[in-house]
Amino acid sequence: MTSEALKTAITALLPEAAFEDGREWLNVRIEAKDWKAFAERLRYQPGLDFDYLFCLTCVDWPAHMDMVYHLTSTVHRHTVVVKAKLEREDPAIDTVCDIWRTAEFHEREVYDLFGVRFNDHPDLRRLLLTDDWKGWPLRKDYEDPVNMIKL
């Protein structure tokens, strides 16, 4: 599907979705509360079939956080980038690890490094850092006097 066709299809799915001009792919900005239902549509609706979540990450902005999902379809070979804005205080979003299994690990990583809580995640624990680690290292305001070397 072309970018334009995707745009109409997605607007039909979720009228509130806003579009940003991505360089390569269509960027869709949605509300965090709509994500789960929207993701299910993206995954299972014929014609869309976004079955491959190839990148899941988070960006920490001064005032908010963005969850970024890169989705592609191995059937139609179209790609879409979905972004959801989260509060910096106590960020939370629904998990999608029952839709794309790869999200289980990626969400744990994001939780570990950014502190984003994923509702209904089956096993939300620290993945990379030790269980008793304090703080969220990839946030911009994270300070770790012991482990960070200032050059």
Partner: protein, 371 residues
């Protein structure tokens, strides 16, 4: 960890495999629940060598951050650097000289062979045959030597820079690549004799660690792991970068989905890489090896994503730029991370010996997973 004991049944044994274990390549830590010899659950515990390269890169300039990616997947450091360079070039909108493109692709394919050769030896060692490991290093050593001559390093190359490659090819390069090709072609039959056709090896591999096409997609697998399950996902074919669009390259697919299919896919991929090298090695266009770039690189505000096919699968670089000298956020999408997440699915119900074979067939490089 203590609560895990409560969850296990009588007769189950929880065993740590790794981080200091002879079979985990690098320092992977798996906590496995065993019943007798049967694996009931595999849980990877990551982070033993997590260095937070993403955080480091946020304080490095666009020229500097590339060197750190060599240290992620050290077996395909060229290709990692390539992906980063592509992402920066996307933002700079520079035209890369064709010579540089060809050199990059050549180096990438040589790296792929070097990586697969090492994987071959390591997999054979995982299932108990130690000799192939040393034979594999004979070929890998040749590749390292010829790359060292051009790039100055054997493992952490840092040869790709935004705009092209750091140096021009060494005058000996073409001759030595030809030598390698003829040598490698004479040795690849030995690989089959020692491992591929060995009845014990086939029995250890066939039907072990099966993952279906749907599951491979859902787990985000990429590279040979996904292609062995029949998922067409070769970035070089689907989204060609540099001159991959112009070379003859066949995507190797297999629908076995088991360890043996992954083995066969990688073996065939070596042949494909060899054919790409043969196509390019005598047709390296003359010209500059590097495009003119500014001394200080600044990417315009925006987001950039580039992906390349490393020896392990799809490597993605996601840069968020604020228009400053350093990136605002970098995310590396590493292939091993997603591939590893499928290990529990693959190994459940198999024997502990199979788990080791599965780990070998996934071709895990731990720094790539921990980053």
């Amino acid at each position: 960890m203590l609560e895990e004991i409560g969850k296990t049944e009588e007769g189950d044994l929880i065993i740590n495999i790794g981080p200091q274990h002879p079979s985990t390549h690098g320092v992977l830590h798996l906590v496995i629940t065993l019943n007798g010899e049967t694996v009931k659950k595999v849980e990877p515990h990551l982070g033993y060598i997590h260095r937070s390269i993403e955080k480091m890169s946020e304080s490095l300039s666009y020229r500097q951050f590339i060197y750190a990616t060599s240290r992620m997947d050290y077996l395909s450091s060229h290709i990692n650097n390539h992906g980063c360079a592509l992402c920066v070039e996307q933002g700079l909108e520079v035209e890369i000289p064709e010579r540089a493109q060809v050199i990059r692709v050549l180096m990438g394919e040589l790296t792929r062979i070097a990586s697969h050769v090492l994987w071959w030896g390591a997999l054979a060692m995982d299932v108990g045959a130690i000799t192939p490991f040393f034979h594999a290093f004979r070929e890998r050593e040749l590749l390292n030597d010829l790359m060292e001559e051009t790039c100055g390093a054997r493992l952490t190359m840092n040869y790709m820079v935004p705009g092209g490659v750091m140096f021009d090819l060494h005058p000996n390069f073409q001759r030595r690549v030809h030598e390698f090709i003829s040598m490698f072609k004479s040795k690849i039959g030995e690989y089959d004799e020692l491992v591929t056709n060995n009845a014990i090896f086939i029995n250890r591999m066939k039907g072990v660690g099966y993952i279906s096409r749907e599951d491979a997609i859902s787990y985000g697998c990429s590279g040979p792991v996904a292609r062995a399950s029949g998922v067409s996902c070769d970035i070089r074919k689907l989204y060609p970068y540099d001159i991959y669009g112009k070379v003859q390259l066949e995507e190797v697919l297999d629908d076995g989905g088991d360890c043996y299919a992954r083995y066969i896919v990688r073996m065939k991929e070596m042949q494909q890489s060899l054919s790409v090298i043969e196509q390019l090695i005598d047709n390296i266009p003359s010209g500059d090896h590097m495009a003119k770039t500014k001394a200080v690189l600044k990417l315009p505000k925006g987001e950039y994503y580039s992906r390349v096919e490393t020896a392990r699968g799809e490597f993605g670089v996601y840069i968020v730029s604020e228009g400053k000298m350093t990136p605002y956020r970098i995310k590396y999408r590493s292939p091993g991370f997603s591939n590893l997440s499928a290990i529990d699915h693959m190994a459940r119900g198999q024997k502990i010996g199979d788990l080791v074979a599965i780990m070998g067939s996934l071709d895990l490089v731990i720094p790539d997973i921990d980053r």
